[in-house]
Symmetry: C7
């Protein structure tokens, strides 16, 4: 199967462990180069974050398991990129 190169995930997670720990844990997984987590919204004891993961060979199931092990849940897969190189989303008049 072709390899996954980037995942952008909408994630709901408890306040603890914080995003630095989630980012470091995800970044340790095989096939991951780097992880970017931005805070989207805080709602009492839950925070909505956007997780961008990039690397040569991302394993979606393991990423999903790890997020769930740390108390989080993937709300949606906002972007996935697969193949021999990263292809960016292309804007067209239909997006307006």
């Amino acid at each position: 199967m072709a390899k996954i190169r980037r995942l952008v995930l909408d994630v709901m997670k408890p306040m603890e462990p914080d995003t630095t720990e989630l980012a470091r844990s995800l970044a340790k997984l095989e096939g991951v180069d780097g992880v970017n987590i931005v805070l989207v919204e805080v709602d009492r004891d839950v925070e909505n974050v956007k997780v961008t993961v990039e690397g040569p060979d991302l394993d979606f199931e393991r990423i999903k398991d790890l997020i769930e092990d740390m108390g989080g849940a993937i709300h949606s897969i906002d972007e996935v990129v697969a193949g021999s190189r990263i292809v960016e989303e292309v804007k067209t008049p239909q997006d307006d």
Copy 2:
């Protein structure tokens, strides 16, 4: 015939298989370098996604068949690029 270098497709698909599987399947097709799928909208058990495919020689019919085999349907061809190199859309005052 000149080769297709990029396709941007507006696709309606069932929630399963998810976009990671669709992206990996499309990326495996001959002539495809990479596939980018972003989530546009979720409507109960159907999701509207934008699929950007790039490569040296894209076969539109095979891409269409594969999307349909996985339960999806192409709603529109939002962009197509053909020729010896990728030419980007150029904005003009007429677009405003």
Copy 3:
């Protein structure tokens, strides 16, 4: 005469043949490097598309003929670039 390097055309065309075929046909013309077609609007059985053509020596009449042979019509020439290199449109305070 100086050569045409880029044309951006506002085109009305029937749904069939689709834009992948129009793009591949235009890209096969002599002096054309590449063709980008984006969908602007669909109106029952006609679609409004923006066609960007780039190459070292574009022949406007042949491009026009081919579009018409495939059932389309050029509504306007939104941009034309001629000369020894591509010069981009420059924005000035008068455009606001």
Copy 4:
């Protein structure tokens, strides 16, 4: 005198000859590298276009004469750049 490197002209012209012919004629003038013409507005049998001309040594009077010979008129000089290199307009808080 220092040389003119770029001119951006607001031009009113008749529908014929079309902008491809105007662009090719202007691009043939000595000291011109390239010409970009975008359509701004169409008003019955007259069209308002923006003409961007770049080159090592532009002759404004000859460009003006040629536009007038082809039935057009320069409405305003929206930008002019002179000197040993092209200097771009710099945005400052005063422009907002």
Copy 5:
């Protein structure tokens, strides 16, 4: 554990010591390349600032301690990046 490469922190701090001193102190910590502090809002004797820290191996706890030692408090972790390289946040249609 994978290394933290960037932290973007929303910080509330007293007017003194000023942001030049906070920036210089943070920049002296091991594993820090550079620190950027922008002023977001001033509210009588407290100022809200955004602190961007980048480096090969950021120690979040030590950064947190130093900010608190200088009278400040981290209001939220707006972005964290971990792994072998900096991965930027990717915008998707879900952000609009």
Copy 6:
């Protein structure tokens, strides 16, 4: 004294001489690499233009004198850059 590298001037000038002549005259001054003049507004027989001048060693007084000799007046100095290299304006949250 440190050298001036860029000046952005808000200038009111009579319609004649036109901006091509003003640009060529300014570009001939010693220490000037290039001049960019954009039209901001026309008010009967006066036009408001923005003049961007760049070079290794700009002489503000001589630039001011030349503008005045050609019938113009500097309304404001919108940007000045001095030193061993050009430093660009940096946007911060305070600008919004």
Copy 7:
């Protein structure tokens, strides 16, 4: 202590001396590469300007003294960057 690489200061100053003189004086200070001053607002005989200073080793106190010697006052430190390289502010969803 780590070195300051960039300062963005919101400054109120008298109309004279003008910003060209302030820029040249600041640019002459040791450790300064360049200075950019943009005009934000004029209020009768006082003008609000944004001063961006960059260099390998900025001395905030000396910069502050010089601005005050020339009749000005620092209203706020809008950005400060310290460390071994310039780190830019990073936008996150929290800024919107």
